[in-house]
């Protein structure tokens, strides 16, 4: 993918500039839905990323088909980031194409940013917002309160709307902003982790149902119920906590896949139920 031959046409056309408008950016956000449309194991989101840029690039490279072809082709390379914050990189990339940066520079920025950006996006949306939403909305829903799903729906529509903000952030602030954003989100991510861990602790105690049903005969008197007389005496919900930590251990230390864990839970619980232990 050499871009040197096409870049030479740049100079003669400098006066004929196309500027992106607010409307272009808003339209680009709707195209960002395409990011995972053709997700595959070769270039992951590559083709989708190319498609979400394509209509806007077509406007920028109106009279320069060779450059447009090169730009489109460059952007089909391996790409994998978090969908919401992908619009940040979309805005940034578009602003660089608009500013007539070298294609090689743009490619380097994209390749060096999509990974870190995925990290920021995943930690905000999958590992902070989701557990909190799950904690609040699921607890309502499990109790038969329809407000839970409704709230969940509204919040994620709002999350989609942040794409209109992220694309502007990328478009206006440029590549230098990434390190600054990293600094600013540090406080935020510590706060979010504190909040998240508090909620997960409560979730473990509230929504895992597991108790043993074993009674040990004690001489003449009433049999000793293992759950009430032993586990609950130590601390309530001890078993749910231990199960959670055990699953953590199997995934982290033994590299067991979640699917196998699910099947394992099914088999273990059925076996324990057959034996009359639970």
């Amino acid at each position: 993918m050499s871009e040197s031959n096409v870049m030479t046409t740049d100079i003669g056309q400098a006066d004929n500039e196309t500027k992106l408008t607010k409307r272009d950016l808003n339209k680009a956000v709707w195209y960002s839905i395409l990011l995972q449309g053709t997700f595959n194991y070769e270039n992951y989101q590559g083709l989708g990323w190319c498609a979400m840029l394509a209509p806007t690039l077509k406007k920028l490279f109106k009279d320069r088909p060779d450059e447009l072809r090169q730009a489109l082709s460059d952007n089909t390379a391996f790409f994998n980031t978090q969908p919401v914050v992908s619009t940040f990189l979309q805005g940034l990339t578009l602003s660089m194409y608009e500013g007539k940066e070298k294609f090689s520079t743009i490619n380097n920025v994209r390749l060096s940013l999509f990974g870190p950006l995925a990290g920021v996006g995943d930690s905000i949306f999958w590992f902070t917002l989701l557990p909190i939403m799950v904690g609040i909305c699921s607890s309502m829903a499990v109790g038969g309160n329809l407000l839970g799903p409704i709230l969940y729906f509204i919040v994620y529509i709002a999350v989609f709307c942040t794409r209109f903000f992220f694309i502007r952030l990328g478009y206006n602030t440029g590549a230098k902003a990434v390190s600054q954003i990293g600094e600013q989100t540090k406080d935020l991510s510590v706060g979010a982790s504190i909040l998240g861990n508090t909620v997960i602790g409560a979730l473990i105690a509230t929504y895992i149902e597991f108790s043993v049903n074993v009674s040990i005969p004690v001489g003449e008197g009433d049999p000793l119920n293992l759950q009430e007389a032993f586990f609950d005496m130590i601390i309530p919900n001890l078993l749910p906590l231990l199960i959670t930590l055990l699953i953590c251990f199997f995934i982290k230390k033994k590299n067991v896949s979640p699917t196998i864990i699910i099947l394992g839970i099914l088999v273990m619980c059925v076996a324990l139920a057959r034996l009359g232990i639970v």
Binding site: N40, N43, L47, A141, Y156, A205, T206, N237
Partner: protein, 264 residues
Amino acid sequence: MEISLLQGVMITIWAIIAGCDYQTEAFFIFRPITVATVTGILLGDPITGAMVGGLTELAFAGLTMVGGTTPPDPLVAGLMGAVFAICGHMSPTNALALAIPFCILSEYIHILMSTAYLAWNRIGAKMIKSIDVKGLVSINILGILLSGLVSGIFVFLSTYVIQDTIDAIIGSIPEWLMHGLEVAGGVMPALGFAMLLLVMFKVKYAPFLIVGFLLACFIEFKNLLPIALVGVAFAMFNYFYGRRDDEAQPIAAAENGGDENVGI
């Protein structure tokens, strides 16, 4: 309760819409809590749908698509759970456990699709050569619709077409097995929480995990919002009172940043 053809078709259309969203992750309507509630509305019992959806959402909390991995299908889990609970008159925990085989089967279908989707790259390359931007956008939309359609067909087969077979299987499940499945459904959220902990837990956050756990052990809540507010209070306390060290030694703090990535 039997699923009528009309209900089967409506559930299928809903599965296609949610399936498109599962592929794009745009509006998050593919998550179990939403899928199951809407399925409940279509089957005339939104409350039961929400109850199953809430439970399934807990179990799938940490099963994310991060890094391009494909987890058990949350859409199918929520949808089949709602169908089992409403049509089979089951408890949410039982319904969740019975939905598991379906969502794992669907997981493998999606893995196959992501492999087959390599073909789009060949088509896309041709379109780029002829600078067909409309075509490029179209094939990506097609990819989304195709994925939704696969979810729809899967759901139509599992809910409407083979419902008599499923009824027969459920009817023949002995009581001990049903009880075992119920227990498994109750334990399933532990996986969701474990997956979250693996990412979010660091030793320095252990106090908050412990406090959250203990509060929920001894105080009864209608939902977890009060606990979340306790978490917010901790976070604000940390922000307003815990910063001074950082400001006093900005260089040391920067150098030591993220050193406690111990995890579990």
